[in-house]
């Protein structure tokens, strides 16, 4: 446990690396089922942790359906400039937006993020998508849904529903993004930390 987490009080692991992997496997199959196959699928991860999750999902899709090339269907969608809290938060540096070579017009875009909370990030993502093209359909896959929505948005594919208090913090730590941080425990995990 990191010193900050210890100071903040209780912190509990709600998903282990194996849980995360199983949830992603299930979501991958749900995506194929809902789409009735792999036709026109594009996965767009929302930085930072949505992107590695999208890559992992694409690898699982490719494993389930050999006609899919994992690299060709994954992209990253930065939503920083579309947020509604730019003037209230410390400045955020925008991240790269990378689309698959085929573009997103008339495709089925699955947005991938780690935690669904207020829904404001997803609203920003929907606005960002409009400027990039016109997908046939947009779906949402998240690793954890912690409730407390502030907008009429819901996820199509959820790894795990986490009942939380609004003061609690849900931390997702992934090998790709967090291995260098001081709170890295050695494996992927989802942790709920008590609020201050």
């Amino acid at each position: 446990m990191s010193p900050e987490a210890a100071a903040a009080g209780a912190s509990r692991v709600v998903m282990s690396a194996a849980d995360i992997d199983r949830a992603l496997t299930r979501i991958a199959h749900e995506i194929l089922e809902a789409n009735k196959g792999s036709k026109d699928l594009i996965l767009l991860g929302i930085p930072r942790r949505g992107f590695p999750l999208a890559q992992r999902l694409a690898a699982k899709l490719a494993a389930a359906d050999p006609s899919i090339k994992a690299d060709a269907i994954v992209g990253q969608l930065d939503v920083t400039m579309f947020r509604d809290d730019l003037a209230r938060q410390p400045t955020r540096a925008p991240e790269r937006t990378r689309l698959p070579a085929a573009g997103i017009d008339d495709k089925v875009v699955v947005l991938v993020d780690d935690v669904l909370f207020s829904g404001r990030t997803i609203r920003a993502a929907l606005d960002a998508l409009v400027d990039l093209g016109r997908p046939r359909a947009v779906r949402l896959a998240v690793l954890a849904d912690r409730g407390h929505r502030e907008l009429p948005i819901r996820a199509d594919h959820v790894g795990k529903n986490l009942p939380t208090a609004s003061a609690e913090k849900v931390r997702v730590r992934l090998n790709e993004t967090d291995a260098a941080s001081s709170s890295w425990s050695g494996a992927d995990e989802v942790v709920i930390e008590a609020g201050l």
Partner: protein
């Protein structure tokens, strides 16, 4: 970064943050919808007391791509020609609730005065003041060099600095705010800068600047450079004769066809030629050099919009305190100021 007044006080973290943000902004310019909603409802005033084409247009395009409202003000045809003071003009803008003021002024220090006097609450961005600084031009030059360097190395430019890049800045350094801003910024980013100019066009105290100084363009080219930045001879600021004739200037300090050809014979195939514009073709730069494949003049203009978008975004969104320093300075070797190379060159010149 609340204001952007000079590159001298710009930290390495903030410089890299601006360049990285500009990198993302550049991607917007390649999209079909070249617009971001980040500054919707904010007002940016372009306050220009001096003539300008590309800087004003570039700031205007940058603000509009971020969805800000833009008000253009030029001293000609305004109440300034009736004798209105900077203070009154600023307070008028304040009353109209401007969120950012982009100011170009003939007096060095006017932007700093605006930012520190309390006349106005807006973010102040220096778009060139007298012979002092022009920070966004230096940032776009650094951005252009960084992209060039990362293309040569085949790496991603995001997060990188300019360590090891040899830059020659040639021409009218005395009157050039671009040169000043570039010297400070390039030294922060770790590049090696050499100023090349006739002694009459070098400012007093240049030996204390963090760069080398030479009077001989050919020897600098022979020593090897990765980027040559040619400065405009600012005839409008010259109230004295600084060199005998334009022909002599062009032959000794201009980047003419012969020197362009020498770059090839010296085997410097990746050296780029930069110019902040507007160019005096045939004086400091020949047409062949300006239009050659080495020239980045138009890329600089294009990058200017991205860099100014980044500056406006960072100055106007959220809470803008300097992040705590976390990057080590790129130049880890012994600090070599005042530069020994400059002293040698001076000795040779005597």
């Amino acid at each position: 970064m609340r204001h952007l007044l000079s590159t001298q006080d710009l930290s390495l973290e903030n410089a890299i943050r601006i360049l990285d943000t500009a990198e993302e902004m550049a991607a917007v310019g390649e999209r079909e919808v070249k617009k971001l909603p980040a500054l919707r409802g904010r007002t940016v005033v372009n306050l220009f007391f001096e003539d300008s084409t590309r800087t004003r247009i570039s700031f205007e395009a940058a603000a509009k791509r971020l969805s800000a409202d833009v008000i253009n003000f030029s001293a000609k045809g305004s109440s300034v020609s009736k004798g209105e003071s900077l203070k009154d003009t600023a307070q008028t803008l304040e009353a109209m609730s401007a969120d950012a003021v982009v100011i170009r002024h003939w007096a060095s220090g006017a932007p700093a005065q605006l930012a520190t006097s309390g006349w106005i609450d807006a973010a102040v961005i220096n778009a060139g003041d007298g012979t002092h600084e022009h920070p966004t031009q230096a940032l776009l030059d650094a951005f252009t060099m960084r992209r060039h360097l990362s293309r040569l190395n085949g790496t991603d430019s995001t997060g990188s600095n300019l360590v090891g890049l040899r830059v020659a800045i040639a021409g009218d350094v005395l009157h050039s705010r671009v040169a000043r801003s570039n010297v400070w910024l390039l030294q922060t980013l770790g590049a090696e800068v050499t100023l090349v100019a006739p002694p009459t066009l070098l400012p007093v105290g240049v030996e204390h600047w963090p760069c080398a100084v030479s009077y001989d363009l050919d020897s600098v080219l022979e020593a090897g450079v990765d980027a040559i930045m040619v400065l405009r001879v600012q005839a409008e600021r010259m109230n004295d004769s600084f060199f005998p004739s334009t022909r002599e200037y062009s032959r000794r300090w201009g980047l003419d066809d012969a020197r362009l050809a020498r770059l090839d014979t010296l085997g410097m195939k990746d050296t780029i030629i930069m110019h902040p514009g507007p160019m005096n073709r045939g004086l400091e730069i020949s047409s062949a050099a300006a239009d050659s494949s080495r020239s980045t003049v138009l890329a600089q203009v294009r990058n200017g919009v991205s860099v100014r978008m980044a500056v406006l975004y960072l100055a106007l969104s959220g809470d803008l305190r300097d992040p705590p320093p976390r990057l080590p300075p790129p130049r880890t070797a012994v600090d070599n100021r005042p530069n020994t190379r400059a002293d040698e060159t001076r000795e040779n010149a005597r």
